[in-house]
Structures are given as structure tokens and as C-alpha cells.
């Protein structure tokens, strides 16, 4: 049983945290400018969560220790908190929740496999669906759910559709996120394999 992380493992945790942080600070900010959070609750979160999964899970292949993804997420969250534009609570909670879910998805398999990575990615990107509700609940309290339920009822009456259809639409949106997450997880396993092959090739 190895005690603590080695210097190499800490450096790799820092590296993958920096990679995810850089994507959040650059692409994340640009996408939020193009699609403001009030107008878009789907696309930006899905893209950012999938890329985050790809990077963090790739990091797990190079630091095959329990807790490594959580540490990568923690470093990403700190970098995001200190990035230009000030403290944004939403993305920080999102990054931490996604890394925790990825870690949970890999509890059963330390070394990982295509399937384990896909499950891990699926769990992490699914968070994106609940994120908005959790954030609104946290920020506005129980009153938010009262307003949201009333808006769903009024909206369905106004549009002349059954209330259940709204839940069907929400279900489809969750399924799309799950599929994207599973694809990102499987892609991370493939990408890590390609990187290892290239590094081995360069060593020869």
C-alpha cells in the first residue's frame, strides 16, 4: 500500500487541473458570452462538462489513485475562482460536483476500463441537468420550486400541452446529457491510450 501521492503524481494532478482550468477560463468564458446563462441552460453546460470529463478522466489514467479526479477538480475550481471576472459560485459547484461524481463512478475500478470510464462520464455530465435546479434551490431557497411549479402549470395551460409532456421533454434532455457523458468518458479512455502510445514511441 503506497502512502500519499508521489511528487510525479502531484505534478500530474496540477497539470490536468491546469488543463481543465484553462479550458474553463478560456472556452467557458467565450461560450458564456456567446450564449448568456439566462438564454441557454443546455448547450454550454453540456460542452463544458463533456470536455471537463475528457480531461479529468484522462488524468486518472496517469494518476491511477483514488481521489485523483477530486483533486484535479479542486485545483480547477480554485483556478476558476481566481480567474478574470471574479468569483462565480455556479461553475465552481459544477466542477466540484462533476469531479465527485466521476470519482464515484470509478470507485469499483481503480485502473479503469472503457465501461467504467463511460459510466463515470455519464454520471458527471448528468449533473449538468440537476445543476440548474440545485443552484436555483441553493440561491433562492424553497420559494424557487414553488415559482417553478406554478410556471410549468401556467406555461402548459398557455401552450395547450399536457403537463406530463414537460416531464417527457426534461427526460429527453437528461438522456442526451447521459449519452454525451458516456461518449466523453469512453473517448477519454481512448485519448489516454493514444497519449501513452505517443509517449512510449518518443521514448524509443
Amino acid at each position: 500500500m503506497k502512502r500519499g501521492f508521489s511528487v510525479r503524481e502531484w505534478v500530474f494532478v496540477g497539470l490536468f487541473g491546469a488543463l481543465w482550468g484553462a479550458v474553463e477560463m478560456t472556452l467557458g468564458s467565450v461560450l458564456h458570452l456567446i450564449f448568456p446563462p439566462i438564454a441557454d441552460t443546455f448547450l454550454v453546460g453540456l460542452i463544458m462538462a463533456s470536455i471537463g470529463c475528457l480531461i479529468a478522466l484522462c488524468g486518472r489514467v496517469f494518476v491511477p489513485r483514488r481521489g485523483s479526479i477530486l483533486l484535479i477538480g479542486l485545483i480547477t475550481a480554485v483556478l476558476k475562482a481566481f480567474s478574470l471576472g471574479g468569483v462565480k459560485v455556479g461553475p465552481i459547484i459544477g466542477i466540484l460536483a462533476e469531479s465527485l461524481l466521476m470519482e464515484l463512478g470509478l470507485l469499483g475500478s481503480r485502473r479503469g476500463s472503457y465501461a467504467a470510464f463511460a459510466v463515470s462520464g455519464l454520471l458527471a455530465v448528468s449533473w449538468n441537468f440537476f445543476h440548474r435546479f440545485v443552484m436555483m434551490g441553493l440561491l433562492y431557497g424553497a420559494g424557487f420550486f414553488e415559482v417553478a411549479t406554478r410556471m410549468v402549470r401556467d406555461g402548459s395551460r398557455l401552450l395547450g400541452i399536457r403537463e406530463e409532456l414537460i416531464f417527457l421533454i426534461l427526460g429527453v434532455l437528461l438522456l442526451i446529457r447521459m449519452a454525451a457523458g458516456a461518449a466523453a468518458g469512453a473517448a477519454a479512455w481512448g485519448l489516454a491510450g493514444q497519449i501513452q502510445k505517443r509517449l512510449r514511441h518518443e521514448e524509443r
Binding site: 502512502r3 500519499g4 501521492f5 508521489s6 511528487v7 510525479r8 502531484w10 505534478v11 500530474f12 494532478v13 496540477g14 497539470l15 487541473g17 491546469a18 488543463l19 482550468g21 484553462a22 439566462i38 475528457l54 484522462c58 496517469f62 483533486l71 479542486l74 485545483i75 480554485v78 483556478l79 475562482a81 481566481f82 471574479g86 468569483v87 459560485v89 441553493l138 440561491l139 433562492y140 431557497g141 420559494g143 424557487f144 414553488e146 415559482v147 406554478r150 410556471m151 401556467d154 485519448l191 493514444q194 497519449i195 505517443r198 509517449l199 518518443e202
Partner: protein
């Protein structure tokens, strides 16, 4: 350094206290908490109050009372031609107050801190490895930018993005990560020869 640590402790205690207050307080109590958090921000982190000058804050604060007044409860408040609900307006104001308290609490916790200070705090709390990793990440951002730009230009000049866009993105990712890993190996060697041990 010691005063730095004490200040971080104070910020953390204030944030935990405000989160507890947020969970326990209701109605007018939230107004008192909001006022207290504004005063705390003024004392510990005056720049944090620039938050109120940001345009994106106002839709977030104004939407709950407006939506609440329009959709919840009986319409018993007449404002010109508008018929609004007092109950909905009150609920919306409480919701906005809660959101504002949470934002201000986070400002107290993180405002005025910097990555370098946080690394120092991690080291002093015995989290040497985490502080080291954060330092590596922070200092690596510029290198990652350079590596990404060089790779991007190389692939673009070879027409990769036009001919095989999907494959080009895969190649881009593999090249950037493997170059960054090679750079990381240099950092590992440098830390090891200096006798650094994070365990």
C-alpha cells in the same frame, strides 16, 4: 504570514456563520444578514462590492420579485394598469435576499485572497502536496497557452482542420497533452533534485 493565516480563519468563520444564518433566518432576518455581510465586505474586501456595479447581477436580483408578483398568489396590489400579488412579491424579495446573501458570503470567503496566498495557506495547514500541485497548475497556464497555440498553428498550416476536422481535434488534444506531460516530467525532476517530498 501569521496575520494572513488569522485573516483567512476569520473569513472562513464569517462565511460559515453567514451560511448557518442563511439556513436559519427567514423574512426580515435575511435583510439584517444582508446588511451584516455588506459591512463585512466593506471591512475585509471593499473591492468585492464592485459586484453591485455589474450588469449581470441585476436581472438575477430583480427577476424573482417580478416573476413572483406576476405568477403567485391573489392579485391584490394595483400598480397603474398592473395587478400584482403582494404574497408573490414578498416571496420573490426573500428569494433575492437569499441569493444576494450567498453571493456576499462567497465574496467574504474568497475576495482579497490570491492563488499565491492560498498556496501558503495549504502549506501551513499541512497540505503540502495540494499547495505544490496548485502552484504547478498556476504556473503551467502560460506554458499550456504556448503549447496549444504552437500546435494549433502547426495543424492549421498543414490544412488539417479543413481536410479532417474531427481527426485534427483528436491530434490537437493528443499533441497538447503529451507535450504538457513531457514538460511536467521536467518539473518532477527539478522538484526531486531539490529534495521536495510531498508525502
Amino acid at each position: 504570514m501569521r496575520s494572513d493565516r488569522r485573516l483567512v480563519g476569520l473569513r472562513l468563520a464569517a462565511t460559515i456563520a453567514s451560511l448557518a444564518g442563511l439556513a436559519l433566518l427567514k423574512g426580515p432576518g435575511l435583510l439584517v444578514l444582508t446588511a451584516a455581510l455588506i459591512v463585512l465586505n466593506l471591512l475585509l474586501n471593499p473591492e468585492g462590492l464592485a459586484l453591485f456595479g455589474k450588469l449581470r447581477l441585476w436581472p438575477f436580483l430583480l427577476a424573482p420579485p417580478l416573476i413572483g408578483a406576476a405568477v403567485l398568489g391573489p392579485r391584490d396590489l394595483a400598480l397603474g394598469a398592473l395587478r400584482l400579488s403582494r404574497e408573490g412579491l414578498a416571496l420573490g424579495l426573500v428569494m433575492s435576499g437569499r441569493g444576494l446573501c450567498l453571493l456576499l458570503a462567497f465574496q467574504v470567503a474568497l475576495g482579497g485572497l490570491s492563488v499565491t496566498r492560498l498556496i501558503g495557506v495549504f502549506h501551513s495547514r499541512g497540505l503540502k502536496g495540494l499547495g505544490f500541485a496548485l502552484g504547478v497548475a498556476y504556473n503551467m497556464l502560460a506554458t499550456l497557452g504556448e503549447i496549444s497555440l504552437t500546435t494549433l498553428y502547426t495543424l492549421r498550416l498543414r490544412g488539417a482542420f479543413r481536410r479532417h476536422p474531427v481527426r485534427a481535434f483528436g491530434l490537437f488534444a493528443v499533441t497538447v497533452v503529451s507535450a504538457a506531460l513531457r514538460h511536467a516530467e521536467d518539473i518532477v525532476h527539478a522538484a526531486t533534485v531539490r529534495g521536495f517530498d510531498a508525502r
